[in-house]
Symmetry: C2
DNA sequence: GGGGGCAATTGCCAAATGACAAAAAATGAA
DNA sequence: TTCATTTTTTGTCATTTGGCAATTGCCCCC
């Protein structure tokens, strides 16, 4: 649980009392592989700090094909922020790609913490805008790269992750077909 | 200037006194086509509400080719949030694609407003996370579409914008070559 | 240990896109 | 207006990637 505190401290100061308070609100939660942390159409009332496992944020087309928008893994927050913030239905799914463990905060506890801890809101503003900006920069960068470059950048930027997620989920994240990704892997070996 | 207030009110309530206060801090600023609102390596100390014109957020590679990450146009805030928030050097440029008019707030005034107006921080959290989430969803969607689909979605999603930005900037935003975009346009007519 | 089912690989061919170069059109400056 | 510069269009060809289908490999469950 100290990892959570360490992560938060990167974005703003919290005194020991505040740290205790935060940890007292956190609830352990397990999500089995294939289960959802958040579902399209439902309101996401929890924000989770991932301590173990990999999630993917994804949506499905009419045929049922799933498209991975991005992965969330250890020591990052997982949440559908638009849904959590305004209590509106989610537009997509957050699915556990592996068995996952998270430290979860309910919307009520989260709101209570922001009322009690002056810097709370600031910290989450920083985390949210920082993480989203970076994801957006990374993603728009991918658009101008070819398939192999995208894959190599992925390997570099997310070391180890390629072995933890199925090829087809990684392929849709990279915006290529599973066959192409398989061929790229072959050509690199 | 009422457009700015109307925009803010979409994200949270502000009483008449607060509205006055906000407008009293806003400064008109003109940016000529080709000039920068924010530059790579420099700290972005202003946030602007665009009342006229189109900006692009972009970066340059070693050869000097520019890549457009996204456009910002009327009735949206333009800012390098990572730089503005933490007073760190920008990673990219914000360039005026047409002559632009913005209502600008200095970092000092912005900070002062957040000290005086309780909802200020909340409003900008909503704007930032909402806008970035949507951009990210839009961009990762583009990754799995072919060039023509991306262009058609752009036309639909940003009506009129395609006539206001040069083809080569639009092409790099779409992640295709100028030649390809030209051919796509031809095939649609 | 042996299917059954899903995931990944591979082959083949077609379609999409890029690279490069040249021509045409548009733009801006004098 | 005229000229120079930049942007856009177009042609040709090479490369990349996708689509489809068959095969192989892997994992899980009985």
């Amino acid at each position: 649980m100290q990892e959570l505190i360490a992560y938060l401290l990167q974005f703003g100061y919290l005194d020991p009392t505040q740290r205790e308070l935060i940890l007292s609100k956190a609830r352990w939660k397990s999500i089995a592989r294939g289960a959802y942390f958040s579902e399209a159409g439902k309101i996401s009332r929890e924000i989770g700090y991932v301590t173990d496992g990999v999630f993917r944020v994804c949506y499905y087309d009419k045929i049922g094909d799933g498209f991975t928008r991005y992965f969330v893994y250890e020591n990052r927050f997982v949440v559908d922020m638009n849904s959590f913030r305004d209590e509106l239905p989610s537009a997509e799914y957050i699915e556990a790609v592996t068995d996952c463990q998270v430290l979860a905060f309910s919307k009520e506890d989260f709101t209570e913490l922001s009322a009690i801890i002056p810097g709370w809101h600031d910290i989450f503003f920083k985390i949210t805008s920082y993480v989203l900006e970076n994801k957006l920069r990374y993603t728009s960068n991918m658009l101008v790269q070819d398939a192999q470059t995208r894959y190599l950048h992925f390997l570099e930027h997310y070391p180890g992750l390629s072995n933890r997620v199925p090829l087809n989920m990684l392929a849709s994240y990279l915006g290529i077909t599973p066959s192409s990704l398989s061929r790229i892997r072959k050509s690199i070996r």
